[in-house]
């Protein structure tokens, strides 16, 4: 490997300086790549395995990264135990190292270098033998000493009868392949997203960002998944009782096994102010999916003073629609500016848990937990995730940045159905409207920052102006941290 690298470098230098070198760059047809060769030295094998969408029926999938790591032990001992998840809907065997949840039935197997000796009594035996097949195929593994191997399944007599293919998976490159050319995955891998509130919306946003290649997550939620959550939340019935942060972490890792996920089972309130402030500081972007206004305002204050962008999303009651607010400190209106311009009542906020219902009843009247379909919440989560991506990709080149022109409003409104009793009850049908508000649409709405906003503006001079005072004579506000 390193030998081939340095030979390539030598050859490149020789070409750049137009002087003959020890090595020469040549095209290798079997590997479809450029290799460096020098006289008398055999061409080393390129170390690359890509799987395509081959027929995956009945295949056995082994992690090539794992096998490369274990190669020395395997060559020394001659055999190595390996565990699989076994799925009976196609007899697929997936190596446990590739399964975050480790579901399916556990199946033990033995990797054997060369043909297995003697009688195989129980379990699956996978024999690894040298091959002439080209190295880039998914059923070929190239060992650290550059020899190509294929693997062959020796099943116990009872289950045998059909040839199964053993493929090797290089997880990261294969995951990245479908994003290449659309997203700067290298940028997203380095980005840290703080997700506060992992209900249906928050958890979906987190999983979408994981699929897009975001590499670091900090998850905050105090709740556990309940049976009532399951119809909307991406977490399923087998996860009931677990902390939502842990459920979401596992969903993230299923999609992006390389991600780093930090979890905190805490609520957002003044008692946790310092902890949350520290997490905000450690992140590049904050995604707020909490339902209650108080926690949003606290998060807003922490984000503005730490100069971190934040995206707030939520559904209206019964999820007849929803809204997203994106706050870029000092550049766009903040959550406080937004709330100040709204009446202080809870009627248009979807409340999805009893705790939130209790917390949100400013008027001392009981607030009901509002039902809403996952189908109605998902469009909000997807839009939120897209806005989050644009924030994460700010100033970076990406195909997604074409959306910047379309998504430049601070506030987005989504209307999902003409809910009776709301101002949208009489919206025209989607089919015959041209420029009126209709269902199934997003509306970008522009509104101004409050220059005298107590969080993001100059509060003192606002007060001074209102009362006809000289601002310089007023006592200073306590320093914000």
């Amino acid at each position: 490997m390193s030998d081939q690298r340095s030979m390539i470098r030598d050859a490149m230098q020789a070409i750049a300086q137009r002087k003959p070198g020890k090595s020469k760059l040549v095209y290798d047809k079997t590997k479809r790549t450029i290799v460096a060769v020098s006289e008398g030295v055999p061409t080393p094998q390129a170390l690359n395995i890509t799987a395509d969408d081959a027929d995956m029926f009945g295949v056995v999938t082994l992690s090539s990264g794992w096998l490369r790591d274990k190669w020395l032990s395997l060559t020394k001992a001659g055999s190595l135990p390996v565990d699989f998840s076994s799925w009976d809907d196609g007899d697929a065997l997936t190596q446990l190292e590739l399964c975050i949840q480790g579901s399916g039935t556990r199946a033990a197997a033995m990797l054997v270098l060369g043909q297995p000796q003697g009688q195989t009594t129980e379990g699956v035996v996978i024999s690894i033998v040298p091959t002439d097949k080209p190295a880039h195929r998914s059923d070929v593994f190239v060992s650290p000493d550059n020899i190509a191997y294929r693997a062959e399944l020796v099943e116990p007599a009872a289950t045998a009868g059909r040839q199964r293919e053993v493929v090797f998976a290089d997880i990261e490159p294969q995951l990245d392949l479908r994003r290449a050319g659309i997203l700067e995955t290298t940028v997203l891998k380095d980005r840290t997203v703080l997700c506060i509130g992992l209900g249906t919306g928050g958890a979906h946003v987190a999983v979408e960002l994981a699929k897009s290649g975001v590499g670091h997550f900090i998850l905050v939620d105090r709740d556990r998944l309940s049976v009532g959550n399951v119809v909307r939340h991406p977490g399923g019935i087998s996860q009931v009782g677990r902390a939502k942060v842990n459920v979401t972490r596992d969903l993230i890792l299923e999609k992006n096994p390389g991600a780093q996920v930090e979890v905190h089972v805490i609520g957002v309130g003044f008692e946790n102010r310092d902890v949350i402030a520290g997490l905000v500081q450690a992140s590049d972007l904050v995604i707020c999916g909490t339902d209650n206004r108080q926690s949003k305002l606290l998060i807003n204050e922490l984000c503005v003073s730490a100069n971190k962008s934040a995206v707030y999303g939520g559904a209206f009651r019964r999820a007849y629609g929803g809204q997203i607010l994106r706050v870029r400190p000092k550049l766009s209106p903040c959550q406080q500016c937004f709330v100040s311009s709204l009446p202080d009542e809870a009627s248009d906020v979807e409340v999805s848990s009893q705790d939130d219902a209790d917390a949100i009843a400013y008027s001392d009247r009981p607030v009901a937990v509002e039902p809403g379909l996952s189908l109605d919440v998902l469009p909000i989560a997807t839009q939120l995730a897209k806005l989050a991506m644009l924030e994460l990709l700010a100033d970076k080149s990406s195909t997604l940045n074409v959306l910047k022109r379309d998504f430049d409003a601070p506030w987005y409104l989504w209307l999902n159905r003409p809910e009776p009793g709301t101002q949208y009850a009489d919206m025209p049908p989607l089919s015959d409207s041209s420029d009126e508000m209709t269902i199934n649409r997003w509306y970008g709405i522009y509104f101004e920052r409050d220059e005298q906003c107590p969080v993001c503006g100059d509060f003192l001079s606002g007060i001074a102006a209102a009362y006809g005072l000289d601002a310089t004579q007023l006592p200073a506000l306590p320093e914000k941290e």
């Binding site: 081939q4 390539i8 050859a11 490149m12 070409i15 750049a16 137009r18 020469k24 760059l25 040549v26 095209y27 290798d28 047809k29 590997k31 479809r32 790549t33 450029i34 290799v35 460096a36 390129a46 170390l47 690359n48 890509t50 880039h136 490159p173 392949l177 050319g181 659309i182 080149s397 195909t399 940045n401 074409v402 910047k404 022109r405």
Partner: protein
């Protein structure tokens, strides 16, 4: 006034001369043949084709360079297929035939008897689709769709009754006369802007007005914001042709567009022939209508 005869004569004076065309043809045919038959490239070679303004018939005056895409059978994920390695390998091959080869960001430049050729290696993303093109600076393979660019240009030319190609030439000629280098966009950016704004003109004069006013109204908003908008490649919408355009350069260009749009509108609206010609000359120089 539309001064159709003046415009027609001016456009034809912008055409590359026959000798330049002949030399360019000889040069690209030679290198394409070399790539096809050379011992080091023949296994990798799948096809070569011409691209760039020369291929899209939007070149003016001297043909400054001719772009040749060489499609290779490459696994870009494989070790050894890094953009820099592939470009250097290609340079090594071309060194055998040309005394002047130059590594460039996405191609190898070669000087062949007065014609500069850019040899761009590429490998298809999918059959007949965009190509992966090596980007030395980004150390990555990036997508580009030269064949999409060619067909986008030829369709636009058909849709506009032939005004597209000629308007690109007019706009390039206008650009070349701008007072500062900073304000002169790269040819392909300009071509893309013409593509976006030309509309369905009925004369050269209207096409020029459409383009200048169109650029001003579409992109004027971004002037002074310190950011350059995403300008989608007509050949492949996910590619931003303005990716390397500095915001100071963008602003300087938009300043010129704003002034030129107003001049062009006055020239078109002018009812006096001499007055109109005088105004068009402000954009295209004293040879216009001479």
């Amino acid at each position: 006034m539309e001064l159709s005869a003046d415009f027609a004569r001016y456009v034809s004076s912008c055409e590359p001369d026959d000798d330049a065309v002949k030399t360019a043809k000889k040069a690209h045919e030679k290198v394409r043949d070399e790539l096809k038959t050379d011992e080091d490239t023949k296994d990798a070679h799948e096809e070569t084709f011409l691209t760039g303004s020369y291929r899209r018939h939007t070149a003016i005056h001297n043909i400054e360079d001719v772009d040749v895409v060489c499609i290779l059978d490459l696994d870009i994920q494989a070790e050894g297929s890094e953009p820099e390695v592939v470009l250097t390998w290609l340079q090594g091959v071309l060194d055998k035939y040309y005394s002047e080869t130059r590594p460039q960001g996405r191609s190898i430049g070669i000087s062949a008897k007065g014609v500069w050729l850019d040899i761009v290696p590429g490998t298809p993303v999918y059959q007949d689709g965009p190509l992966w093109i090596p980007d030395r600076d980004a150390k990555a393979w990036v997508q580009s769709h030269p064949k999409g660019q060619i067909s986008a240009a030829s369709e636009k030319n058909k849709d506009t009754g032939g005004y597209y190609v000629q308007t690109v030439k007019l706009m390039k000629s206008w650009r070349d006369r701008l007072p500062t280098d900073k304000s002169k966009p790269k040819s392909y950016i300009l071509e893309t802007l013409v593509h976006q704004t030309i509309g369905l003109p009925t004369s050269h004069a209207r096409a020029v007005v459409n383009v200048l006013e169109g650029i001003n109204s579409t992109y004027g908003f971004y002037r002074g914001l310190g950011t350059v908008p995403f300008i989608a490649d007509p050949g492949l919408g996910t590619v931003n042709v303005a990716k390397r355009w500095e915001s100071a350069e963008f602003d300087a260009f938009l300043d010129q567009v704003k002034a030129a749009a107003s001049t062009a509108r006055q020239a078109l609206n002018a009812t006096d022939e001499a007055e109109s010609r005088k105004l068009w000359r402000k954009l295209f120089g004293s040879t216009f209508g001479a």
